[in-house]
């Protein structure tokens, strides 16, 4: 029983990070129809932002703030410089552009900063654990769960309460009609990128707490997971990305916890098979996005 509860908490923490990442991809996809494969590089930028801030002797919390800000601003610049010029081109062109942005950033990181990982010392306070009954929750796990919950709450409030948030939900359904309401298209897209950058920054910090270093390829794997989460939940659906992220977290933890040793090597194959099985029954994902007829 303890084992089960502990693994449940584990899944919650892991799924939460996937949810944040997936949400970042979904926010941009919902308004632009683009899967931004350079999303992972925003995480990496967060890491380098923190690294250099600490290098300059700034306090840890300030460094975290700088990291997230850097990711947010970079996401907006990415949109302005790389994606706006191709906004009206085919989805393939945009997708290839995002691959190009990702590759260029990799090469810049490798050659201008270092191909070797840069260490980011994490304060020892974050190494502890909280004991609740027989349950032990690592401080970082707890932070992951709390930060995920707060991020989801904040984003929900923004989307429900603010005019810009409503405009983003509207744009996700029907971009042109949203413009017919006098909503500034650039503003909506820019905001979408800013949110995705912010989420990448937050997820990046959670990831960095675990790994303690940043390297040029740091964002590669997480963005793949996020992509799976987003497809699982339904492309472009925000609640879908969250559901997909948590489901992926639960599938992964369950397999790692309960698969017999001989079968462990196949766990990625099994988890992808499960994902495909879900998509077989729900081809549009678990929470498909609503789209008015065009």
């Amino acid at each position: 029983m303890d084992f089960l509860v502990q693994q449940f908490v584990n899944a919650l923490a892991l799924g939460g990070t996937y949810a944040l990442l997936g949400l970042g991809l979904a926010v941009v996809f919902s308004v632009l129809g683009l899967i931004n494969f350079a999303h992972g590089e925003l995480m990496t930028l967060t890491g380098y932002g923190i690294f250099y801030a600490l290098f300059l002797g700034l306090p840890f919390p300030v460094a975290l703030l700088i990291g997230v800000t850097l990711a947010t601003v970079s996401a907006m610049l990415m949109e302005r410089i790389a994606f706006r010029p191709v906004r009206n081109s085919s989805p393939t062109t945009m997708l290839l552009t995002s691959f190009a942005v990702s590759t260029i950033l990799h090469i810049l990181f490798q050659n201008l900063i270092s191909a070797r990982p840069k260490a980011i010392p994490i304060p020892d306070a974050l190494a502890g654990a909280v004991t609740i009954g027989t349950l032990q929750i690592g401080a970082i796990q707890l932070i992951s769960i709390v930060v995920t919950a707060l991020s989801l709450l904040g984003l929900t409030l923004f989307l429900k309460r603010s005019m810009l948030g409503i405009a983003m939900r509207a744009a996700a359904e029907d971009f042109n009609v949203t413009r017919l309401m006098g909503v500034n298209a650039n503003m909506v897209i820019s905001t979408a990128f800013a949110i995705s950058g912010l989420l990448a920054g937050v997820a990046g910090i959670l990831w960095l707490f675990q790994r303690g270093s940043v390297d040029p390829l740091m964002g590669f794997l997480p963005v793949l997971k996020a992509f799976i989460a987003v497809v699982l939940g339904g492309l472009g659906s925000l609640s879908g990305a969250v559901v997909g992220g948590f489901l992926l977290g639960f599938i992964e933890i369950a397999l790692r916890a309960y698969l017999p040793d001989d079968a462990l090597a196949y766990r990625d194959a099994i988890s992808l098979t499960l994902v495909i099985a879900v998509l077989f029954f729900y081809p549009q994902g678990l929470v498909p996005r609503r789209e008015s007829v065009r």
């Binding site: 005019m163 409503i166 509207a170 029907d174 017919l180 309401m181 909503v183």
Partner: protein, 238 residues
């Protein structure tokens, strides 16, 4: 006084030329009908006015200002908006949110949002009862009312309406046409695209008939009725 002046408008989608040099004008306070068969290019004209269809030539002036290079949102801020064909309400948003976003164009409109929403609920009591309902769950007629109300939230001086009677029951169609006629008394000018020729001519001051992307007839409602060429225009293009 001319509010909207379209000259030699050409709209092209790749190889397809949907509008081939259309000129028309809408005077302040008028209701103008734009008629024509399926595929005649009516929607393309309206979309081009709003900067949503690719213009390959010609000019469009709103209130004397050339707008063919402006973005959709800038045109809305000038006081012209479009209720698109097929309603296209935001299905996942509530009725209230749909109206709220209708007032997104300016800070001034946002400030008066609540007041204007109540005015819309007075105009469309059926929407008032369904404020919190998701727009996607409304009936077709209710969705059309919401689409028009949403457009009115931006307080346009010129409203472009694309086939508001599409797929609605006759009694609802009557209600919608009554409403359009009443917009005139509110000082709103209307350019109405319709397939329902009879009802349109009843409320319109003047009408244009499009076929194959060209204006083939134009004149006052009486003139067009009298000329008897309307059926030919429809058949010719179909």
């Amino acid at each position: 006084m001319t509010l909207l002046a379209i000259k030699d408008l050409v709209v092209r989608y790749g190889a397809i030329q949907a509008v081939r040099g259309v000129s028309l004008s809408v005077g302040k306070g008028e209701i103008i009908a734009l008629l024509g068969a399926n595929g005649a290019g009516k929607s393309s004209v309206l979309n081009a006015c709003m900067g949503l269809a690719p213009k390959a030539g010609g000019s469009i002036a709103f209130d004397g200002v050339p707008i063919e290079r402006e973005t959709t949102e800038a045109i809305v801020r000038r006081g012209m908006t479009l209720t698109p064909e097929g309603r296209r309400v935001f299905a996942a948003l509530s009725v209230l949110e749909n109206l709220e976003i209708g007032a997104a164009a300016s800070a001034e409109l946002r400030r008066r949002g609540r007041e204007n929403r109540e005015a819309m609920f007075e105009l469309f009591p059926r929407l008032a009862e369904r404020r919190q309902q998701l727009a996607g769950t409304l009936s077709g007629g209710e969705q059309q009312m919401l689409a028009i109300a949403r457009s009115l939230m931006s307080q346009p001086t010129l409203l472009l309406l694309d086939e508001p009677s599409l797929g609605l029951a006759p009694n609802i169609v009557d209600q919608i046409f009554d409403l359009i006629a009443s917009l005139k008394t509110r000082g709103i000018t209307v350019l109405l695209v319709e397939q329902n020729v009879e009802l349109s001519l009843d409320i319109a001051d003047r009408a244009y008939v499009l076929a194959g992307g060209d204006v083939v007839m134009a004149g006052s409602a009486q003139e067009l009725r009298a000329s008897g060429g309307l059926e030919r225009a429809y058949l010719g293009a179909a």
